[in-house]
Amino acid sequence: MLRYLIIMLDASAPSFCYYPDPSSGGRKMPLEVLRKAVYFAQTHALGVNVLCSDPPEKEILQELDRINHIFIGPSSVTSDSVWNVPVLNIGDNLSVFPGNPDKNIILRSDVASLPKLPEAVSALKGKFLRLNVIITDEWKMTPELVTVFQRILEQTGRLADGRQINLITDRAMLSKPSHCEAGVKHLTVAPDGRFYICPGFFHENPEDSCGSLDEGVSVPLEELYRLECAPICRECDAWQCKRCVWMNRKRTLEVNTPSRGQCITSHVVRNYALKDSPTPYLDPFELIGR
C-alpha cells in the first residue's frame, strides 16, 4: 500500500539515493501538474517528499503548503528550511556545513571513498540527528574489500557518539525488515506528471513510467517489487538493507534480485551490528542458488 509520494519539482534535482546525479537542465514541474500531484497525495493520504535543485518559487511553496511535506535537496539549497533533509557528498567540504542537530542528513559516498567516512562523521559532529550513508555503487563491494570495510565501520562506530548512523545503528534496532520498498510503499511523480517506481527509473528511461496523474497508477507486475517475490531477499535477515530495486535491475536485470556486491555490503553491515550472531556467509545466494 502506498504511503508516500516523491515529487520531483525538476528533472535535474540531484540524487539523494543510489542512482547517479542527473545531467543538468531538466524540465521543471508546471504548477498545474504540481496541483494534481498534491491533490493525488491528499486523496490517497500520502506523505510527500519533494526533490528540487533550486529554491522553489513562492507559488510552488504555497501549493505545497496544502500538505505535509519535506524537502530533500542539496545542502546549499535546503539547509535553512525547517523540513529539509540535506544531501551531502563525501567529497564536500563538510567542515563548513552548518548543519542542525535536530535534522537528518543524507551522505552519499562511493565504495572507493569509504575510507573517508570516519573523517566525514567527525566533521559532521553535532550537526545531525541521524545520518543516512548511501554507498552509491555498493554492487562493487567484493570479498577482498570486506576487511577494509569492516575496519571503516569500526572506526565510524567509535565516532558515532550515540547518534544514529544507519550503517552503524539501524540493524541492531530493527525487529523486522526495513527496506526502501519503491513501487510498493512509494512512487515518484516526475515533472511531466507521470509516475515512476523511483527517480532512478525516471532517469534511466523516461518511457518506463507506471501511469500518470491523469490516468492513475498502473505498476506492471507490481508483485515483483514485494519482498515475498524476491527469492534471495525474503530469506535474508540483513533487515537494514535498502534492497534497492533500481540497483537490482541495473546489475541483474531483475528488480527482485540483488547483485553479489549489494549482498556482501549488507551483510558486513549486518554482522557489524549483530556481532554476537554473525552469518557464516556474506551472500545468501550461497545458500539458495542452484
Binding site: P220, L224, P231, T252, S259, G289
Partner: protein, 402 residues
Amino acid sequence: MQIREGNASWRGGMAKNITFIVTKDCQLACKYCYLVGKNMKERMSFETAKAAVDYILGDRKQFAEESVVFDFIGGEPFLEIDLIDRLCDYIKQQLFLLDHPWFNSYRFSFSTNGINYHEKKVQDFIEKNKNHLSIGITIDGTSAKHDLNRVYKNSDRGSYDDVVRNIPLWLSQFPDMGTKVTISSPDIPYIKESVLHLYSLGIKEINVNCVFEEVWQEGDDALFEQQLVALADEIIDRGFYRDHYCSFFTGDIGRPMDPERENQNWCGAGMMLSVDAAGNFYPCTRFAAFSLRSKKPIIIGNVREGIDQDKLRPFLTLDRLTQSPEECRNCEVAAGCAWCQGENYDAAPKPTIFRRSTAICKMHKARVRANNYYWTRLERLETKEEIEKLKNREVACCDILS
C-alpha cells in the same frame, strides 16, 4: 515383458551443457520456429569458438561439472560442418593437453533438420566422433504433417522427402535415438497418424511438445484430447507401449505439486551456457536476439570478459512458485506442466523472467485427461508391477531444439 526406456538425458542431466550457435541460417523456414531473426550473415568464426572453449576449459572452478555436452545448433548446424569439425578437434586436443576431467566424459550433440545428413563431410565427421555423439533428426510425422510446417525458405515446398530418405542411415548409426515433434495449432489433426508413422519408420522414441507461444485457438484443447485418446488406443491395442515410447503418456503428471518439495524451476536456463557468433554468452539460446520477438537479448557476458555472475543470479534463484500466477500455484493438475523461460520472458508485460506464461494451460489439461485415459486403460491389461515399471521409466530429455 521387456519395457523400453526413454532415451534419458546423458549423465542423468548432470552434465554441463555448452551450446554453440554456429549459424543463424537454415535451409528451412518452419512456420512454428521460434527463431524470428534467422539470417545468413551471423556465422561463427573459428576464432570466436576457440575463445569460448579457452574460457570454459580454463575455469574449472566455474565449470565444475563432471561431464560436458557440447551442443551445436543453428539455424541448421550441419551447414557449418567445416567449422564444427575443426572446433571438435580443437576441443579434444585441449581436453587432452590440459588433462581436463572432461576428456573422458564429453559428448557432441546435434539437433538437425536432417537434410544434408548424408553428405560426405557430415558422414566423415560422424565416423570420426561416433563414440561421443548424439544426433537427433527432427521429423514431424507424416508427409502431410511434416510439410505443413517444415518448408523450405522462400518457397512452400515441404522438406519431408529430403529428410525421410536419411532416416534409415541415421537409425543404422543411432538406433536408440529419438525424434522430437513440435505441435502447433494446425498440426493437431495429424498427431495420431504422425506418431504411428514415425514408429513405422523405425523410430521408437517420440518426444512431443506443444509450442509454448500463444498460438492456441478456441477448441484446440478438445481436438488435442481426441487425438491423444485415439493415439492411446492405437498404442495400447497394437502393443506399442511395450517397446516404443511417446512422451505424451507419462507416469507422474496431472496432480497437485508440493509447494516445498517441488518448488524448483522447470527450465535449465542459466545452468547451461550458450554462445553466438559475436562471442556473446546467453543463459540459453532462447535469450539471444534472433530468438526473441519483443524483448532485448539477455547477454550474460562474452568470450573476452567472461560471465557476469550477477546476470546469472536471477536464473539460479528462480523457483516455480515465485514465477507462477495464482492459477498455477493452486492448479490441481500442475505436475508435468512445462514452461520455457525464454518464452516467459518474451511474453511478459515487462522484461522479466519472473512471470510464467500460461498460454499452454488448456493444452496441458487436455493432455492430462488423455494421459489419465491411457493409464486407466493400461491398468486393465497389465499387472500393478508392470504399470509401475512403465510409469517409472526414465523420461527422455526434451531439450532438443527444432
